[in-house]
């Protein structure tokens, strides 16, 4: 298990929405394909929306740019 994956699981266990938005964004940046990046960016975007994290704007723009959000 990668260190990032372990931190994501810990954040889920702690129900830490801000950390989840941050960590899934990191996963999106490390992804090797666009589809994989959009999957992780979606995860990050949803948690950012829920906790009103400032990352929501950047994540929305990324997803919209790739036709994944409206």
């Amino acid at each position: 298990m990668s260190a990032l994956n372990a931190r994501i699981l810990s954040a889920h266990a702690a129900n830490d929405k801000k950390a989840l938005a941050d960590l899934y964004r990191q996963a999106a940046r490390a992804a090797e394909t666009l589809d994989s990046a959009c999957f992780f960016a979606t995860q990050a975007y949803i948690f950012a929306l829920e906790c009103n994290h400032e990352l929501q704007i950047e994540l929305f723009e990324f997803l919209k740019k790739h036709g994944r959000e409206e």
Binding site: D35, A37, C38, F39, Y45, I46, L49, L63, E69
Partner: protein
């Protein structure tokens, strides 16, 4: 076969009428019928604005089995939604909380704004694809329940067919027009719940008449005698009682609550108590007001949610607590009565009872409204069958 009842004798003049038949207090089919005929088709009290004082505050409430979400949205407007995701029908919010950003369904994470708009549908078109041509977000917002705020009560009309609130409640609003001014919930020391083993209607009936006061509330006799009270009846709308000798509560140093502003002389010594049909009991005095929401929990159980309000945000805590305790004592004195009437309705030969033509008109007024609404509901159901 669904239970039905004969209501013809209920709608006679008070001097000839019988009260509602037993089944209206103990029967599950009739309770279900009344849920639609009385509580969903009219403006019912659900909560108070003070339950969601800040933007984003959200409280899940089960009202007559229906999962609802009370929320103060980003623009500070109080809204009520069905607490049900438009995707798979999952309950959205399980506990009272502050919504910081979006309401996220815990199942597949569809997200809603606090004003109900569906704002994201993650992976709906496949992994990482959050849109689909067949998923039109503009048609999939949260189902909103028709809502109106008056006297801090969150009134809801579940079936959406009642007349506009201002029209439906016109008489009551006019009657208390002088009290259309800011009032402030006293906070944690000014709210309490009473769970009573009775049908919700018995709490209405007991509240709206003064006939019982000298027997059930003997402490009031010293200054507020039966002859100081008057009946209030507005057929089809509300009923209640008034007193001509309201006396202000005083603290140890003689301190009193401030008055509401600009009241006419009448209110120096008067107070009034209205049962606004179906399930809201209100009281006004020169220096405070209260609200009781009757939340039915089956045919034979009701939760009474009591809230006290003041003209100012800076009232004395000790005096507020004393006032809360005083009213709690009064309302607790009524419990044996409403619970006794409930048990009495298991007497199979009880015919609904006869009214005092002089003293019981407010109760008859409520029964007449109840019977009229049920008859209309039955006629509409028969027509559509």
């Amino acid at each position: 076969m669904t239970q039905t009842t004969n209501l013809s004798s209920v709608r006679r003049p008070v001097s000839e009428a019988n009260g509602l038949p037993n089944e209206h207090y103990i029967n599950h089919d009739i309770f279900e019928e009344e849920k639609h005929a009385l509580l969903f088709s009219n403006w019912a009290g659900l909560a108070v604005g003070a339950d969601v004082p800040e933007t984003g505050d959200a409280v899940p409430i089960t009202f007559l089995g229906m999962p609802l979400l009370l929320i103060r949205d980003r623009s500070s407007r109080i809204r009520v939604f069905q607490n049900t995701c438009r995707h798979r029908g999952m309950i959205l919010v399980e506990t009272a909380q502050k919504i910081e950003g979006a309401i996220r369904c815990p199942y597949h994470s569809w997200c809603y704004a606090t004003d109900g708009r569906l704002i994201s549908t993650p992976h709906v078109g496949g992994p990482g694809k959050n849109t689909h041509k067949d998923i039109d977000r503009t048609t999939l917002g949260l189902t909103e329940i028709r809502t109106h705020i008056w006297r801090d009560v969150v009134w809801i009309n579940v079936d959406g067919k009642a007349p506009p609130f201002e029209q439906a409640m016109k008489d009551a609003i006019q009657r208390w027009a002088e009290f259309e001014q800011p009032m402030h919930h006293g906070g944690a020391d000014s709210r309490f719940d009473l769970t009573v083993k009775c049908n919700w209607k018995l709490a209405v009936e007991n509240y709206c008449e003064s006939y019982h006061l000298p027997w059930v509330h003997p402490g009031l006799n010293s200054y507020s005698r039966l002859e100081d009270h008057y009946n209030i009846e507005s057929y089809n709308h509300y009923s209640g009682q008034g007193t001509l000798v309201y006396r202000q509560l005083e603290g140890e140093n003689g301190a009193r609550f401030p008055d509401f502003t600009g009241l006419s002389d009448k209110w120096q010594t008067a107070a009034e108590y209205l049962a606004i049909y179906p399930n809201v009991l209100l009281g006004v005095h020169r220096d405070h007001a209260f609200t009781i929401l009757l939340i039915p929990d089956g045919p034979e159980s009701t939760v009474e949610q009591v809230h006290l309000y003041y003209p100012s945000t800076s009232t004395d805590k000790a005096l507020r607590s004393k006032n809360t305790a005083q009213w709690k004592d009064v309302f607790e004195e009524d419990i044996f009565v409403v619970e006794g009437m409930q048990r009495g309705r298991h007497g199979a030969q009880f015919d609904g009872g006869r009214f005092s033509p002089v003293m019981d008109a407010p109760t008859h007024c409520f029964h007449d409204w109840t019977a009229k609404n049920i008859q209309a509901h039955r006629a509409a159901s028969h027509k559509s069958a």
